[in-house]
């Protein structure tokens, strides 16, 4: 089965969504949509046995063969893991959305079309082996994310957030495209599979470092790393199912996927390791620190997502150390890659459930402001339980999945202190310290999220709606995810063997031959080692600081808003907007004269430049036709009438002089042996003059006005420039023939081939028949235009701008 086509299944299904929404309004459209991720998930699960043992599958579909661009679906441990996350969480989110979005009030068809479009895009990213199609799907996720954030498009904040996320992620995407192009120049192929074996040669290439930095721009913007994370908190304006799906479980992990996927190519470089690990770790600290400033439930989760993505990113960076170590299986460096993938799974599970809980609280109480919430424990017991499980997993408490990966994260960070390349022996000690600090704040905000919402004093008077437990359908998905959180804690090695190790193999293909060679056994208890004491410290300090949170939380407000990254973004957008506007104002004057001056100046510049560059000034005096008396007389008349136009005060005189010019030209045609032209010119000129006079008859005020044109030096200069240019072109075209004229062919064949005697006419209707056809079409269009202008009377409407 060519499973590459399955990527497009959601997109195909999206075509039917509007129809279903309009025709089958009684059933919530989500039920139909739900089929897609469920079917896909079951199919992809059936591929698991292949990847568990390190196998892979390839399926191709040609797109633009002439440019060597094809959709190539490449399934190995890493892409299958992401595929399962996308379809699995996708199914749960769609199920949740059925109860979250009201089928009567909401524009469900828009929502599900965007969501399915996103699903295709995301599957495309993780399965594409071809860098160009990967980029294509990458931008498609940005676009669908833009549409989903702006789903409630009447809200200002939604539009602002949508635009912000689009600007930042598309900027990163473009940088990444540059990196991809450099990679293909270096390696001679766009295929990731073919690039990986060349890794050792690529690293010494001049472009290598550029490609590395550009690709990381893409990954960091998408995965909301510092300083690009600012779009993610504003993306929380999207409906909560979208936040749970795109902005925590899948899309923001595309950057992590890219880093993991390209690790074999870049990891040899010390720059890669430093950039990925330190940016990731700093983001982890920064996000967790500022999560406590947030008052909005989803805001806390957004910063927590930023922080957790940073954590995984730093692990991916640390895993690069494995490339510089002999016999990695015997050292602690092996843990970083495993921990990254393992935590990625855990995070998708617990953060998905937490977002859904935030959505439920919002849905059932009418607010997400944590200052108004509190004491919901007894009113919403199931939601509370789910929230506790998710948050404790996030904080790294046993017996939940997050505890295991958090421990392994600490192990990996500690191992970096033993690494002796790239001056890690000096700076390496910073990694466990920052990781520990970040974990403390993670612990605090996890508790803050749960207990300030569900514990404490209930304030019913501050809630827009009386709080109650959510309907059962809405609870299915979060409860299921919460169960998974617990299950993972008890069967970590099953998850490890089935999902994590095959993915690690894809990240470190040079180090292992098969997933079985990765000797890692996850266990909850691992003795009294440094990690254990660090964890104890996190719990103790974290709990103390949470207890005193109300005393020190206000100090966040001391941080001035004016020098924040958000202010920087706002200023940049504002400046580029008004700056571009001002710049355009300088030359877009609104006078047609200015525009014509630009155009004519450019004509002069380009034509004279070409003449000069190609050295075409030569004038050939042979083969000239003799100068005749009549021609000279007519030319004098022509020039005389032109002068009359220029200097006449009355416009009527000008029009009559224009007619004189036309008739002189008709006479010239007669002399130069062009009888057809002369006839046509006479007829057309007569009609034109009549038309001019007719127009004047209807515009009495204008026709009576007498005024002399004022002399303008600038205009005259441009006019003389154009005149001289044309004369030069005429002269040099006379003397230089690049190729023999086709006229000889016409002259010789006109009677034999076309059976006509009048060569001009035969050319028009036979050799160049289509030209004439289009000419008639132009006439017809003009006719329609004229009739429309005369007959149509539009009523003037008031401007209807939404934003005014």
């Amino acid at each position: 089965m060519s499973f590459v086509l399955l990527i497009f299944l959601p997109l195909l299904a999206a075509l039917f969504v509007p129809l279903l929404f309009k025709k089958v309004g009684k059933i919530h459209t989500g039920w139909f949509v739900l089929i897609i991720p469920v079917v896909l998930f079951s199919y992809y699960v059936s591929l698991l046995p292949t990847t568990i043992h390190g196998g892979n599958l390839v399926s191709e579909f040609q797109w633009i063969p002439s440019l060597d661009i094809a959709f190539i679906a490449y399934i190995d441990g890493l892409s299958l893991l992401f595929t399962l996350l996308i379809t699995g969480i996708g199914a749960l989110v769609v199920l949740y959305s059925i109860f979250y979005l009201d089928k009567h009030r909401e524009q469900l068809h828009n929502f599900y079309v965007y969501l399915l479009m996103f699903m295709t895009a995301m599957l495309g990213i993780v399965q594409s082996d071809h860098l160009i199609t990967l980029y294509l799907f990458w931008e498609l996720t940005s676009i669908s994310s833009f549409l989903l954030i702006g789903y409630w498009y009447t809200r200002d904040r939604s539009r602002f957030g949508a635009l912000k996320s689009m600007m930042i992620t598309v900027f990163g995407g473009l940088m990444m495209l540059g990196g991809f192009v450099l990679l293909s120049i270096m390696g001679g192929t766009y295929s990731i599979r073919e690039l990986i074996p060349q890794a050792t040669e690529l690293v010494s290439h001049d472009f290598f470092i550029w490609a590395l930095v550009l690709v990381l721009f893409g990954a960091f913007t998408k995965s909301a790393q510092f300083p690009f994370y600012i779009w993610l908190p504003d993306a929380m304006e999207a409906p909560t199912p979208v936040s749970a799906y795109l902005h925590s479980a899948t899309m923001v992990k595309a950057g992590l996927y890219l880093v993991a996927r390209l690790t074999p190519i870049f990891a040899i470089s010390g720059t890669w390791m430093w950039l990925v690990a330190s940016v990731g770790l700093f983001t982890m600290f920064w996000g967790s620190f500022f999560a406590l400033k947030q008052k909005d439930l989803k805001g806390i989760l957004a910063f927590s997502t930023v922080s957790q993505l940073g954590l995984i990113m730093s692990l991916l960076g640390a895993s690069a150390a494995g490339y510089h170590i002999d016999n990695i299986a015997e050292t602690t460096f092996k843990y970083a890659g495993f921990a990254a993938i393992f935590h990625l799974i855990n995070h998708a599970v617990f953060k998905g459930s937490l977002f859904m809980i935030a959505g439920i609280v919002d849905h059932e109480t009418g607010t997400r402001d944590i200052r108004k919430l509190g004491g919901l424990m007894s009113l919403m017991p199931i939601s509370f339980t789910v929230a506790v499980i998710g948050a404790f997993s996030m904080a790294g408490l046993p017996p939940f999945g997050g505890f295991l990966s958090k421990e392994m994260f600490l192990t990996a960070m500690l191992s970096l202190t033993e690494f002796d390349l790239f001056s890690m022996d000096v700076w390496g000690i910073l990694f466990p310290v920052v990781a520990w600090l970040g974990s403390v704040f993670t612990f605090i905000y996890s508790f803050y999220f749960v207990f300030h919402t569900f514990a404490g004093e209930h304030k019913p008077d501050q809630l827009p709606k009386p709080a109650h437990e959510a309907p059962i359908g809405m609870l299915i998905s979060p409860v299921f995810l919460a169960l998974l959180v617990v299950v993972i804690f008890f069967i970590p090695n099953l998850i490890g063997d089935w999902l994590v190790k095959p993915a690690v193999l894809a990240m470190q293909p040079f180090l292992y031959d098969s997933p079985e060679e990765i000797k890692i056994h996850v266990s909850a208890w691992h003795g009294f080692n440094p990690e254990f004491f660090m964890t104890l410290g996190i719990f103790a300090i974290g709990f103390l600081m949470f207890w005193t949170l109300r005393k020190w939380q206000k100090s966040y407000d001391l941080f001035p808003e004016a020098i924040s990254l958000n202010a920087l973004y706002d200023n940049m957008v504002f400046l580029s907007d008004t700056g571009a506007n001002r710049f355009s104002r300088i030359y877009m004057t609104g006078f047609i004269r200015s525009y014509l001056v630009y155009m004519f100046s450019f004509v002069i510049f380009i034509v004279l430049g070409t003449l000069f560059l190609t050295d075409a000034f030569a004038i050939d005096f042979t083969n000239l036709a003799p100068v005749g008396f009549y021609e000279i007389v007519i030319l004098i008349a022509l020039v005389g009438s032109t002068f009359t136009i220029l200097f006449s005060k009355s416009r009527l005189t000008g029009i009559i002089a224009l007619g004189a010019v036309g008739y002189s030209i008709a006479l010239l045609f007669v002399i130069f042996r062009a009888p057809d032209l002369a006839l046509t010119q006479l007829v057309i000129e007569t009609i034109s003059v009549a038309l001019f006079l007719l127009a004047f008859y209807h515009l009495p005020q204008i026709s009576r006005k007498e005024e002399r044109m004022r002399f303008r030096f600038g205009n005259a200069l441009v006019a003389i420039g154009v005149g001289v240019t044309v004369t030069l072109v005429a002269l040099s075209s006379l003397s230089q023939k690049a190729m023999p004229s086709i006229s000889e062919f016409y002259k010789e064949t006109v009677y034999k081939e076309a059976g006509g005697g009048n060569i001009v006419n035969v050319i028009l209707v036979d050799y160049r028949g289509f030209d004439t056809l289009f000419e008639i079409a132009v006439l017809a269009i003009t006719g329609i235009g004229i009739i429309t202008m005369i007959k149509l009377r539009l009523t003037k409407k008031e401007d209807q701008h939404e934003n005014k």
């Binding site: 877009m588 004057t589 609104g590 047609i592 004269r593 014509l596 001056v597 004519f600 036709a625 100068v627 021609e631 000279i632 030319l635 022509l638 020039v639 136009i645 220029l646 416009r651 000008g654 010019v661 030209i665 010239l668 130069f672 042996r673 062009a674 057309i684 009609i687 034109s688 038309l691 127009a695 204008i702 044109m709 205009n715 005259a716 441009v718 006019a719 005149g723 001289v724 044309v726 005429a730 002269l731 006379l734 006229s743 016409y746 002259k747 006109v750 005697g757 009048n758 060569i759 001009v760 028009l764 004439t772 000419e775 132009v778 006439l779 003009t782 235009g785 004229i786 202008m789 005369i790």
Partner: protein, 115 residues
């Protein structure tokens, strides 16, 4: 002859451009008319003004004696098109004068409203 023609064509173009840069709509239209006249003559001259008989097959005329038919065919098309454009412009001027009450291009700039 071709050289004299070239200079005359340059003059036509110059006058046309100068008229098109003025602020009166009618003068701009006259300018475009002159411009197309100049272009027609330019085409004719570029092909060479030689040839002793019109490009119509006749007995006793050798192939090299015909005037060049290709520029003539092109000009024929161009005359018709330029007529179409001129008439369109004229009606446009007529209508815009009716609606807006002026043919002064300086008063017709519409950028003030777009803030």
């Amino acid at each position: 002859m071709e050289i004299i023609m070239s200079v005359a064509i340059g003059f036509l173009f110059m006058a046309a451009v100068y008229l098109m840069l003025s602020k009166s709509l009618i003068r701009i239209i006259i300018g475009t008319g002159l411009l197309s006249h100049g272009a027609h003559l330019l085409l004719l001259t570029m092909g060479g003004l030689g040839g002793n008989s019109p490009p119509v097959v006749a007995h006793g005329v050798s192939v090299s004696d015909y005037a060049d038919p290709l520029p003539q065919a092109l000009i024929l098309t161009a005359i018709v098109i330029s007529f179409a454009v001129t008439s369109f412009f004229l009606v446009l001027a007529y209508r815009s004068y009716q609606e807006l009450g002026t043919d002064n291009m300086n008063l017709l700039r519409g950028t003030e409203d777009y803030e």
